[in-house]
Symmetry: C2
Subunit: 340 residues, 2 copies
């Protein structure tokens, strides 16, 4: 963590789930952190995510494609964690144009500005398991074909390719971490469009039964957010990671039914299986397991939390702070700045 | 060709190079052809390309993303050859946002409208060799990773993925043909942004020497346009091709120097090597060879023209009609319609 002391670090999407957990670590490590976050209401931004840290950072509330507002904050950044992403699998099918504009268009504008204002910057992009689509073999490594089964997954690939191309042209130095089923504190709790585990937790903490779509046998390798943040920080330090794509996965398969049972047991509620809604069935990839061998071998990374350890911490967080997530404050956040 | 008689066929980009050669074949086969073409000045549209055929088709001059103008022409089409594409490798680096809007945004709008107005339509999309980027092995088959080295190549992949996804969801029935170095009559002759062979021909017919970038040893497998059209027509007929991606390549490697020499000899001019301009060097993939074994084995397709046969025909075409391409009529084409 010494590496980050005094470094100028930009985190896009830094008010969101993974972004805010990352920002907290960076600030503790002594980095000079700027956060850009559009705070779109359907995404994960929550001011409470950075409670206690807001005075330590520069916060810019804007879309990363809005260069008029953000350009001055892009000057001479050393490391950029590019987590800003409009993530909605179902929503991207209902409004693919919005998904295109928020992801591809904004990222393309952003990367061109970065090239100009922070030439040669180190960028860590966060991709997603959804880039692979239905598994052709398992566990999927980074060479698995990318055949997304929703528009958002296609656009995640497109944006990763922008990064790869800009790296190829020596405009930036990029690494992509394809994350899968990250869970933990500071995940939004307003809808189930960003993974089902947080939704299970919300339902359970509200005393409701958990509904599992299908028979619950499909497996996921859930990754606790602190372990995902660790991977991001390691990738930012490692020059060996430059130009490369890595899966980040716990490699511990847990079935959806097991996850539901664990959450239900901790909260003292019941769980049961119900048929898939049609809109979910068409984009459901079945069991998914990723290999993160490449990341382990390159950086020495490995997850430090079992699923149950992570889940305990997560439940505890939402027991204490759930009201900040179940009914967050409404209204547009005012642009907050700190003198640079 | 009997298959196409009486069929309702839509060709996007049908005033362009490959599109117009295709439309001529379709009309001759008795298809009921609608053409949509944006006629962007930097692209390949030329009214002369359909000379003698304009009275036989419905021509809609519009961007395929302009649903207000085109929707009524999308109703109940049976086969759609989706060739509309803004192709500019260098230009896509200079103005990537324009490339995004013209390709991804327009195609996404178009495909959603097709889904609604011609549900289950058979769509043949034309991809490109540029989707592969720098070869990791040769000849490249369809499983070769897609790592484009320009923005246009990235967007060609994105649009192909839109098609694949819509096929996966049973909205359309798609095939992608990834074309490589197609040449022949009706190629635009105003700039060298769509391949160098037409540019060699233009220079040679103007009596100028041909300039080859680099040492000219890099190889391409040039495909004569009539053979490319044959592949499109076969793919449209074959149900086996549905959901699949195919390379279309001659598989006869010709070096750039050999191509320059052949053109120069036919026109009686000289050729010489000059250093690469920097902007070209960065996106130059080196020698490229594709395998079209998959297409051959599925459809029985094979090219019927050698490089020199195709070149002779091409030179002859431009000797006769060059004035229509070197200095085409200016001005926006007026929307022409034929009663349906």
């Amino acid at each position: 963590m010494e590496f980050y002391r005094g470094k100028r670090v930009l985190v896009t999407g830094g008010l969101g789930f993974i972004g805010s957990n990352l920002v907290r670590r960076l600030v503790k490590a002594g980095a000079s952190v700027t956060v850009i976050d559009a705070t779109y209401p359907d995404q994960g931004a929550n001011l409470f995510n950075l409670k206690g840290f807001l005075d330590e950072i520069v916060l810019v509330v804007s879309d990363i494609g809005n260069l008029e507002e953000i350009s001055s904050y892009l000057v001479d950044q050393e490391i950029i964690f590019n987590l800003a992403s409009s993530t909605s699998h179902i929503g991207s099918m209902q409004d693919p144009i919005k998904d295109l504009e928020r992801n591809c268009l904004s990222q393309l504008r952003f990367l061109r500005a970065v090239r100009e204002l922070s030439p040669g910057a180190r960028i860590i992009y966060t991709g997603s398991r959804s880039q692979y689509g239905t598994p052709l073999y398992q566990p999927m490594d980074e060479d698995h074909p990318t055949r997304p089964v929703d528009i958002n997954g296609i656009h995640k690939c497109t944006v990763e390719e922008y990064h790869r191309l800009f790296h190829h042209l020596s405009y930036i130095r990029f690494t992509s971490l394809r994350l899968t089923n990250v869970f933990g504190p500071r995940h939004q709790m307003l809808h189930d469009g960003h993974g089902f585990l947080n939704w299970f937790i919300r339902k359970a903490l509200a005393g409701e039964d958990i509904l599992v779509f299908g028979d619950g046998t499909q497996e996921r390798d859930f990754l606790y957010v602190e372990d995902a943040v660790e991977a991001l920080l390691l990738a930012g330090v490692s020059s060996e990671c430059e130009g490369e794509v890595y899966n980040v996965a716990s490699e511990i398969p847990v079935s959806v039914a097991e996850a539901a049972k664990a959450v239900a047991d901790m909260a003292g509620v019941k769980w049961k299986c119900v048929p898939y809604p049609q809109e979910r069935l068409s984009i459901e990839p079945g069991s998914v397991r990723l290999s993160s061998r490449k990341l382990r071998e390159t950086t020495g990374w490995s997850p430090h939390h079992t699923f149950l350890e992570g889940l305990e911490k997560t439940m505890e967080f939402y027991r204490r702070h759930g009201h900040r997530y179940f009914h967050p404050a409404k209204g547009r956040i005012i642009l907050e700045r700190k003198g640079k």
